[in-house]
């Protein structure tokens, strides 16, 4: 009997997982949320479970008990959590395990450990991974903070131990201001969290975000599949990713990759995982955290390694042993992923909701499209603004930049604004072309005017004129018969030839 795999997720990633489930001969089961009852992914599934999560109900993808209860009712063998939602929720993973459902991911214990920053960091230290220099725990007072900062060098960042959301946080550029900043941050933390404890870390001014993809099985085998660079972020969310990274040399790749594998083995990790590093301008790098799920940007790694990560997640969950060996993994060419979010890059990436009247994707054998929508779909305010991903493979970095740009020019969407023009701007910017861009690029370099260009402006003027003229020419004529004799002749001629 075919195994039944439930996807506790939606949109493009649900479709992506369904593809792997079918490849492995399984039946794909999905939830139909009342918040988007006509979603595209439903068409690809073998079985649909109505979630009845309308009205004020919590959406199904965030409701562990209901997911597991419905999974049991529908005789589900495995659950794939996708990314986001409950994918890194240890209680959900545990609930699956407790109910005899195979959770596709690492063990609940490891999800929990990696989710606790302090635990993850101490495990990383044990495995010999470099961490951003900083105080181990709370620092006693302003004098101690100054002494510590003098030792590790400025700028430093002061963070409230109990903090979050930027409160109780200060970036200190020089020794003269550390005392004042320490006091105000500590007071702020005390007022906000009832705890004035502060710790101190070196502050990286222009860091790059690098991450290593690893894959492990339940038999102790772990491989890494190289890095991705995800420095291009807005509001701390990635928007364009590439693999490999131009800032990682083959020697560094080996060193960091070995480190990632060593760490994963040390903690007994299995399934797909990502080890994130932050890299300073001088090339020094530090462990940030580990993600215990499949990532949005996993296709760039698949494009350059030829390894199907979702297939392997499922096979590992079933207890299969990894057949890929580290020495067999070769990096072939270069890949870029552009996220298509319904957001307005001309207006601080404000989300856009509504109808997608028409969407058109580029089609080429080196282009991979992952989409959760089609023409006629609705973008609701209930879920994430990412609707699709355009992933392009090239023989080298220059080649993939050219191909991606052409692909983005072929893409079109009528109805809503997207991040595609932003990605086009990025791909043409010298900071991206020479690969010097950092996580601060959007805040420090990008301006909405950079989205405009003279060709588009001129054609826009023409389009506006045609729309205006077709009315004007009709109005300015008092002969009714003149209605036919307007500029549509030019338009019609052109239409007939195409």
């Amino acid at each position: 009997m075919k195994k039944r795999l439930l996807i506790a997720n939606r949109s493009e990633i649900a479709i992506r997982i369904i593809r792997s489930a079918h490849k492995l001969g399984m039946l794909a089961v999905v939830f139909q949320s009342d918040k988007e009852p006509d979603a595209l992914y439903l068409k690809y599934a073998d079985e649909i479970i109505p979630a009845r999560d309308g009205g004020n109900e919590k959406n199904i993808f965030l409701d562990p008990e209901r997911i597991v209860n419905l999974a049991l009712e529908h005789n589900v063998d495995l659950i794939h959590p996708g990314y986001g939602f409950l994918s890194e929720n240890p209680d959900f993973a545990q609930l699956c395990v407790d109910n005899g459902i195979n959770f596709i991911g690492p063990s609940p214990e490891l999800i929990r450990d990696m989710g606790l920053k302090t635990v993850a960091k101490s495990m990383a230290i044990q495995a010999g991974l470099p961490l951003v220099p900083g105080s181990d725990g709370a620092i006693k007072d302003a004098d101690a903070a100054k002494a510590y900062a003098d030792k590790i060098g400025y700028p430093v960042i002061l963070k409230a131990s109990a903090g979050g959301g930027g409160r109780g946080m200060r970036i200190v550029e020089k020794a003269e201001t550390i005392e004042r900043n320490f006091k105000s941050a500590s007071d702020e933390a005390l007022a906000a969290f009832g705890n004035g404890d502060m710790f101190i870390e070196k502050y990286l001014q222009n860091p790059k975000h690098l991450e290593f993809q690893i894959m492990g099985d339940k038999h102790g085998n772990v491989v890494h599949l190289g890095e991705r660079e995800c420095s291009l972020q807005r509001k701390h969310q990635k928007i364009l990713e590439e693999a490999p990274s131009a800032s990682v040399t083959p020697e560094m790749r080996k060193e960091m990759g070995d480190m990632a594998v060593r760490f994963a083995k040390a903690i007994g990790y299995y399934s797909a995982g990502t080890i994130e590093f932050i890299m300073d301008e001088d090339g020094s790098y530090f462990f940030m955290e580990m993600n215990t799920r499949i990532q949005v940007e996993h296709p760039v790694t698949e494009m350059i390694t030829g390894v199907d990560l979702v297939d392997w997640q499922i096979r590992v969950a079933l207890g299969e042993e990894l057949t890929i060996k580290q020495e067999d993994i070769k990096i072939n060419g270069w890949a870029i992923e552009c996220r298509v979010n319904t957001e307005d890059p001309q207006n601080r990436f404000a989300p856009q909701t509504g109808f997608i009247d028409k969407i058109h994707f580029p089609k080429k054998d080196y282009i991979r499209i992952e989409t959760g929508v089609q023409s006629g779909s609705v973008v609701t305010p209930y879920f994430d603004s990412m609707i699709s991903k355009i992933i392009v493979h090239g023989k080298d970095r220059a080649d993939v930049i050219t191909k991606t740009l052409a692909a983005l020019y072929e893409f079109s969407l009528v109805g809503l604004k997207t991040t595609v023009p932003f990605c086009r701007t990025v791909l043409q910017h010298p900071d991206f072309v020479d690969a010097s861009y950092t996580t601060r690029w959007v805040d420090s370099v990008f301006t909405p005017e950079m989205l405009e260009n003279e060709e588009d402006e001129m054609i826009g003027a023409l389009a506006a004129t045609i729309m205006y003229a077709s009315e004007y020419l009709q109005l300015s004529s008092d002969l009714p018969a003149y209605k036919q004799d307007n500029l549509n002749v030019w338009i019609l001629n052109k239409r007939l030839t195409y």
């Binding site: 023009p421 588009d456 023409l462 389009a463 506006a464 003229a469 239409r495």
Partner: protein
């Protein structure tokens, strides 16, 4: 009738699209050939047309245009996903608003005066017509020779001061032209 001239007679087909940043496009939309933008015929093709959505092809590139909003003569157009706002004027409203040739001297320079005494044999254009630089406006006979008198700029014929068969003196004002080259 010089068919090689880009502006045909109909001045009501000339528009000015003005952006907030001061950028201005002079756009002539002929009945049957390519559009003329800032005096240059552009090889722009229509690929697709729906009510408020056009796709053009130019220099091998696609341009997806979508009308986002429209308020009287103001329009916001999305081109390849980026919005541009224009205010649109017909040539006549543009001239009326005094946006072309505020400088009276410049107008005089474009007016046509008779280079020699003679007789007007023929007038090719009418008031209100668009005329191209170098395009003949009228024919003047002097010393048994017919001379074509041409426009010195691209413009619109504001006033024709003479009639066919009329004799004129040297330096007599023949035609007033409003330049559209700015």
């Amino acid at each position: 009738m010089g068919t090689s001239y880009i502006y045909k007679r109909d001045a009501s087909r000339l528009f000015i699209a003005l952006r907030e940043n001061g950028k201005r496009y002079k756009i002539y939309i002929p009945k049957e050939s390519q559009p003329v933008i800032d005096g240059e015929e552009k090889d722009i093709d229509f690929v697709e047309q729906e009510d408020f959505h056009y796709t053009f092809d130019w220099n091998g590139k696609r341009f997806h245009c979508e009308l986002v909003s429209r308020d009287q003569n103001k329009a916001v157009v999305k081109v390849n996903g980026v919005e541009y706002k224009f205010s649109l004027e017909s040539l006549f409203s543009y001239i009326r608003h005094g946006m072309i040739d505020k400088d009276g001297k410049q107008i005089d320079e474009n007016n046509i005066v008779s280079p020699m005494p003679g007789k007007i044999v023929d007038i090719f254009l009418s008031e209100g017509d668009l005329v191209n630089e170098g395009e003949p406006i009228l024919s003047l006979e002097a010393m048994k020779m017919q001379n074509e008198i041409s426009a010195s700029c691209n413009g619109v014929i504001r006033k024709i001061r003479v009639q066919q068969g009329q004799s004129v003196m040297k330096d007599e004002l023949l035609v007033e032209i409003q330049s559209i080259d700015v």
